[in-house]
Amino acid sequence: MTLFPRKLFNDSLPQIVMKHQLYSIHNDKTLVDKELNKLREQGELLMFQLGFDADAFGLVFASDYKAKVLAGEDGRATRATVEKFLEKLPSLCTELSFSKDKMLKEFRFTDSEITQLVKSGVLTVRDAGSWWLSIPNSGKFTKYFIQGRKAVLNMVKKSKYSEVLKTELEERRTTSHVKFQMKYHIHDIVGAELVESIPTTSGTLLRFVDS
């Protein structure tokens, strides 16, 4: 969590971690999944579908999310609706997306309120009549994330034999394309299995997987 750069976005975004980055930290994927589901049911963690990869889920602590969204809404007309939405937060934690009937019946939002929520960035359009839960202003995050991932992967690919020691990769200077810290990206590519992690006598070796 501490690897997430806050100053880059002028503090407007809560700290986001990818689910597969956690796979790189712990060995047991099923256990990680179970614990995450538990936290989501308790209402402490929110999961988002980030849209660039069917399997990539972003995780944010509920308290962080609330604080940042409210801070972003300060002085805007849509603030009241957003506050109402956030009050339902504990029940929101278990869902990734919402369909129209759910919004109208369960949460009792009107059509215009839904439009306001989309405008403020809390919901993004998924299909006609259904919406993903999302983080306002997360477009920049996604852009930098994908750019950085590509750049780091290229670094591994261009190395001799397409493999590089993890410690050596951490030492390398990042190009201007890579906005996040190296470690953040390493956890991402290892967890998403875009590189194979091989234990050797001189540390972990990351080898590019050609699929």
Partner: protein
């Protein structure tokens, strides 16, 4: 091990516990053994292997050139070095051989007098092992990807056949009829499997990303379709409802007790399902590389305490723990893609066949001799002692006689 033996003797432990612990230890130490080897008869890749259920002695293999070979796996020579000999073959010179590659072979579950093979030449042949002539030939309109005979059925002798046609055909061995058809899929059927627990439950996997479970006694459609999101519509895009995978589903395997079903798909995922309710148990195996355009034959161990799944992944076989999803080891040894693998439950051995025309036998590594034994054997004929497999050692007759 000695602890387990004395506990079993004293009645403190259930006898099953010793068996399970030892089987698990043996599976965890699987590796290639230079002493065990299978005769090389196939000139092309091997697509399918089956070990008979009755004695576990004979193994069938079907190759990409249409050749079918039967091997004897039992080692009756008193030597450690053993090559599993081919007992007989249906070679290219036989009049009845399949014209194109053999995709699935299976022994008749009750004795080795009969076996069934299906192939890309759009036929399925029921062979008499004695004369190596087909007793019955079923013809189809499309390539036959997979067939399966129920291993426990007493009341029926149906063979479920999956072809390029979206309808699953059930052929009856007793009458030769093929009128029973199961409709529901929308694309070719890549794999079919009967449940080892109930003789009327059939699972089928298709290229339309769906896996359906059928009760063959019912006239209406399938019992249920496996859904990877367990009905949680929020996770999927609206088109991907009710799919087991995000790509073609090309491998199906029930666990030994029939309670769970494993499926693999071209979205590089393997999923474990509860076979009674169809619920996805959400065990995360990570990326299970899968590029096969046809059926992938993978297998689950039987008789061990955490069961293991052996999945061919490229040119090696990945071993995962069934319920935790942890990758135990990768068995490397083939030179080219591995297409099929089969587990021998009595000896805890794994046989794998691949495009490099080899069938490799993975045998549990023998236990290292104890320190005590080593010093004793240094005095006696040392070579004799350690080279004979402890299972063949004479432990009953006394030296004084």
């Amino acid at each position: 091990m000695l602890g387990f033996l004395t506990a079993r003797q004293a009645g403190v432990d259930d006898p099953l516990r010793l068996r399970r612990a030892e089987s698990t230890r043996r599976v965890l130490s699987l590796k290639l053994n230079p002493d065990r080897d299978v005769d090389r008869i196939h000139g092309n890749g091997i697509n399918t292997i089956d070990i008979e259920a009755v004695e576990g002695r004979y193994m069938l293999s079907g190759g990409a050139d249409g050749v079918i070979v039967i091997y004897d796996l039992e080692n009756y020579s008193r030597k450690l070095q053993y090559t599993c000999k081919a007992v007989c073959t249906v070679g290219r010179s036989s009049r009845y051989v399949h014209k194109f590659s053999v995709e699935t072979v299976q022994w008749y579950p009750y004795d080795t007098g009969m076996f069934v093979s299906s192939s890309f030449d759009k036929t399925m042949k029921v062979w008499d092992t004695e004369t190596l002539k087909p007793a019955e030939v079923f013809e189809f309109e499309g390539n036959v990807y997979s067939h399966h005979l129920s291993p426990i059925a007493r009341k029926h002798s149906l063979i479920a056949v999956g072809t390029t046609d979206p309808k699953i055909q059930l052929c009856d061995l007793k009458s030769g009829s093929r009128i029973h058809v199961l409709q529901g899929h929308r694309a070719e059927i890549l794999s079919v499997r009967w449940s080892p627990r109930y003789d009327h439950i059939l699972a089928t996997a298709s290229a339309d990303s769906k896996v359906k479970v059928w009760d063959v006694r019912r006239a209406s459609g399938s019992l249920f379709t496996l859904d990877q999101h367990n009905g949680d519509k929020s996770k999927a895009s609206s088109e991907a409802v009710n799919t087991a995978h995000n790509g073609r589903v090309n491998g199906l395997c029930f666990t030994g007790d029939g309670l769970y079903l494993l499926t693999t798909g071209t979205d590089d995922r393997m999923r474990l399902w509860n076979s009674a309710t169809g619920e996805n148990t959400l065990v995360n195996y990570g990326k299970v590389c899968n590029e096969s355009r046809k059926r992938l034959q993978f297998t689950v161990s039987r008789g061990c305490s955490p069961e293991f799944v052996f999945v061919p992944c490229g040119s090696s076989v990945a071993v995962y723990a069934l319920h935790t999803g942890e990758l135990v080891t990768m068995l490397r040894g083939h030179y080219n893609n591995v297409d099929c693998c089969e587990f021998h439950p009595d000896y805890q051995e794994l046989y794998t066949g691949g495009k490099d025309c080899n069938i490799l036998a993975w045998v549990p590594a023998p236990r290292a001799p104890d320190v005590e034994e080593e010093s004793k054997s240094a005095n006696q004929a040392a070579a004799d002692q350690s080279s004979v497999n402890p299972a063949f050692q004479d432990a009953w007759s006394s030296d004084e006689d």
